[in-house]
Structure formats: C-alpha cells, structure tokens
C-alpha cells in the first residue's frame, strides 16, 4: 500500500516541469512531500487556506456544487490542487519549461 502511494507520487513527479508534490491532511499538516521541509510547510498552510476559501465560494454560489480542482497560475509556477474531504494533493509545476 505504501509502495503504491510512493509509486504514484513518483509518476507525478517525473512529469515534465513538475517541481514538487505534497499531500496534506485535513489539519493542514503535510504527510508526504518531495520538496524540502520549510517550503513544504509553507505551501501546505497557505494552500489549505486557499482551498477552504475556494470550496466555500463554490458551495455558496450553488450548494449542490462542490470544488473538484483548483489551479493557480503565477509568473513562475502553476499550482494544481486536487481537494478531498480528508486530504489535499498539491502539485507545483513550471509550465514554461
């Protein structure tokens, strides 16, 4: 089981341009990460907050709706967030490569 998780993460990480992958639990604590610690902690805290906000926005607009994917494109990176009830998968990619 652990191997399956690792293998999937490795598959994502090996994609073109991916800088890092983080799995965050519902408390905002990172469980798995391919990046260094301080950056991981920063990303997980900030992105969980953003995820909560985005989710509440979607549900406020339409209570039957729910957030399925969140994508933030900045000058240097693209951050992709796949939310879940308990976990959060964050992938950081450099799209210009």
């Amino acid at each position: 089981m652990a191997a399956e998780v690792e293998e999937t993460l490795k598959r994502i990480q090996s994609h073109k341009g991916v800088i890092g992958t983080i799995i965050v639990n519902s408390e905002g604590i990172p469980i798995r990460s391919t990046m260094e610690n301080s950056l991981t902690v920063q990303y997980s805290g900030l992105i969980s907050q953003l995820n909560d906000k985005a989710r509440s926005t979607v549900r406020d607009l339409d209570p039957t709706n729910d957030l399925t994917f969140l994508r933030i494109r900045s000058k240097k990176h693209e951050i992709m967030v796949a939310p879940d009830k308990e976990y959060l998968l964050i992938v950081i990619q450099n799209p210009n490569e």
Partner: protein, 381 residues
C-alpha cells in the same frame, strides 16, 4: 697623716657635657564628636511581569514509515489520476500561446518621447557651441519653441541664431528638422508663448532686445521689436510674461539690469511701447546675501519673474543676490537719487521682501494656492 678637720666631705659634681635633662611637657588632644545620620528608603510598590514565547508548533512532514491508511491510498490514486490528466492538458493547451508577461518596466513614470535636434549633425563650428537656452510650449500644447544661445559671451553678442519650432503632434514630425525656423540677430535668452493665443510668441535676447512674432502669418511673422526704444533693456532678458489685457497685447519683461518694464504692442505703429518702468535697487538686497555693492544706488539684476494667479497685480521677483521680493504693479514709490538718465519715471515695485538665501536665484514660480511660492536656486560655482 690626714687630719680630720682638714677634710671636707663635700661632694663634687660636674655636669655632663653630652647628657642633658630631658624636657617634659604635658598636652592633650581629643577628636571632634562624630556626626551620625540615619536615612531610610523603601520602594513604594513593585510589579511583576513575565513573558514567554509561545512554544511553536513544530510541523514537520510525518515520517514516511507512518502507517498508511487505506483512505490515503484511495485518495492518492484518485487525485493522481486527476492531476495527471490536468498536466497532460496543460501540455497540450494552447490557452497561453502568445501570452506575454506584462513587463514591469511599464511602471516607469517618465518616458522619453522624442529627442529634438536642430540638425542631424552639427553643421559648422558656430552651431556646435550653441546650447538650448530656453523653451516654451504653445497654449495648445503641440508646438514647442526652442531658443538657442552660446554658453558664454565675452563681449557683445554677435552670433546669429535660429529659433526652432517643432510641432510634436504632427504625423510628419521630423525630430531633426524643425518645421519652422526664425532667424535672429543675437542669442536668445527667453522665449514665451502667449497663454491663450497659440500663435503669439515673445522672444527675449541676450542684448536686451525683445521681439514679438505672430506665427500664423506665413509671410512675415515678425510683428515688432524693442531695439529702437532707448530706455529698453541693455542686459540679457531673464523673464517675460504676457499680460491679460482687454485690447492688444501687453508684456512684462525683467532683465539682468534690474529693470522691469511693461510694454504694450500698438498695431498701428507696429512697435512695442513702454508704459511703465520699475527698477530693483541694490540697497534692497539683504545684507546676508554677501553682496558687496560698490554704490548703494546701483541696480540689482533680476533673474526670475513669477506672477500670482489670484491677483494679476502681484508678482514675485528673484534677484541675482538670492533675494525674493513680492512686488506689485500698483506701487507708486519713485526711486530717488539715481544718476544718469534713469531718473525719469522709475518706480520701486517692492512691497515686501520675502526671503533671502545666498546664491543666485535661477527661477521662481508661484503656485495657485496663495501665498505659496517655489524657488529654484543655483549654487555658486
């Protein structure tokens, strides 16, 4: 042998030559009584304060050996599929094709639009020593008049210069070739367009002569000059100002000979006529300006002129010694004790000496909100 009666038993003594009787004297001392004082102090009250940093919650990534929940596995599998799909789409996406990041450089507040040159190259030596002496924008904001002058004059100015005019809003703007040129007999020291009529131009020269041009007249824009007026300026003109008049054109000129003259243009005679004369005297300059004037009645050169927006009679004069004076046209105080031919009709315009600072003033401007003013000075070199 010895007879008892002849013997005397007196003791004989003799004093010692080295041993003397020791002298004894009695004396007593006693120390003064000690001074003792008692003091007490006590703190009135005291406070206790404690501080402590909050213990930081250390957040670290959980060790990879921690138990892996099956829900985690399921989540990862599902989410990974989603993310990989998105990554593929991002690769193939053409949404950002041709998307260029907005450059940060556009936030620069000032951009250079044109560089205007009189000629593509300095044609001859006399041209190359010509510097831009002054410039003025027309009231419509599209024509700029640039006056050239030599940087230094040793004696009388004998250069002939051109006054170049560029229209920056025309499509055929050639930055190296002005669309109109006026030939002048000497170097220009000040140029000013009329504030509401875009074709009227006043030119002040280094010789003290002033000329008036009407640029809308194609054949001969020259309207009039002050060269013939005897009581005109003799030193370079430092500032010109158009007066708003009901009829005709009025000008105020200030020059380095300390005179401030008010002119009126008469169409009939095609010349500028003097209406009022003012003069700034050297004894009005502040002592702190460090100027050692030879004569108390010599004049002080004017370097700047600025008119008040509210009161058309009030204006500021900047002088060579660094003084700024608030003056008014309504002043009727005559100048006394002036020698030579400057006696007639000269008036002292100064109402109030505003401020002095050492160093020659170069320019001054008055802000619309009264009574504030700006002074730009040039340091002594």
């Amino acid at each position: 042998m010895f007879k008892a009666s002849e013997v005397s038993f007196d003791a004989i003594g003799f004093k010692s030559c080295w041993k003397g009787k020791s002298k004894l004297a009695e004396n007593g001392t006693q120390c003064e009584p000690l001074k003792v004082a008692e003091h007490e102090t006590q703190t009135i009250g005291h406070d206790e304060k404690e501080s402590q940093t909050d213990p930081e919650r250390e957040v670290t990534v959980a060790a990879p050996d921690a138990a892996v929940k099956p829900s985690l596995v399921a989540f990862v599998v599902r989410a990974a599929a989603l993310v990989l799909g998105e990554l593929e789409r991002a690769d193939k996406s053409r949404a950002f094709d041709g998307y260029q990041l907005i450059e940060e450089d556009d936030d620069q507040p000032v951009r250079r639009l044109f560089t205007l040159r009189l000629g593509a190259k300095p044609a001859d030596k006399s041209q190359s020593s010509m510097q831009v002496a002054c410039l003025s924008w027309s009231s419509t904001g599209s024509v700029v008049a640039v006056g050239y002058g030599a940087s230094e004059h040793e004696s009388w100015c004998e250069h002939s210069t051109t006054l170049a005019l560029w229209n920056v809003n025309r499509k055929d703007l050639n930055v190296n070739q002005p669309y109109n040129k006026l030939e002048l007999r000497s170097c220009v020291s000040y140029v000013r367009f009329h504030p509401s009529e875009p074709s009227m131009l006043a030119v002040g020269m280094v010789t003290g002569e002033m000329q008036l041009y009407n640029l809308s007249r194609e054949d001969d824009p020259f309207l009039g000059s002050t060269a013939a007026v005897i009581q005109g300026h003799r030193e370079p003109i430092s500032a010109l100002h158009w007066l708003a008049r009901s009829a005709g054109y009025g000008l105020v000129s200030a020059s380095r000979d300390g005179k401030l003259l008010v002119w009126k243009y008469s169409e009939a005679k095609q010349q500028l006529q003097l209406t009022k004369k003012f003069q700034l005297m050297a004894d009005q300059l502040p002592r702190a300006a460090g100027r050692r004037a030879g004569r108390a009645d010599s004049e002080a050169g004017l370097t700047a002129l600025a008119f008040s927006h509210d009161n058309p009679d009030q204006f500021l004069l900047g002088s060579e010694g660094g003084g700024i004076f608030l003056c008014s046209f309504a002043s009727e105080v005559p100048i006394t004790a002036v020698t030579g031919d400057r006696v007639e009709g000269l008036l002292n315009p100064v109402n109030l000496h505003v401020r002095a600072a050492p160093g020659p003033g170069a320019d001054a401007a008055m802000l619309p909100v009264p009574p504030q003013y700006l002074r730009v000075g040039r340091l002594r070199q």
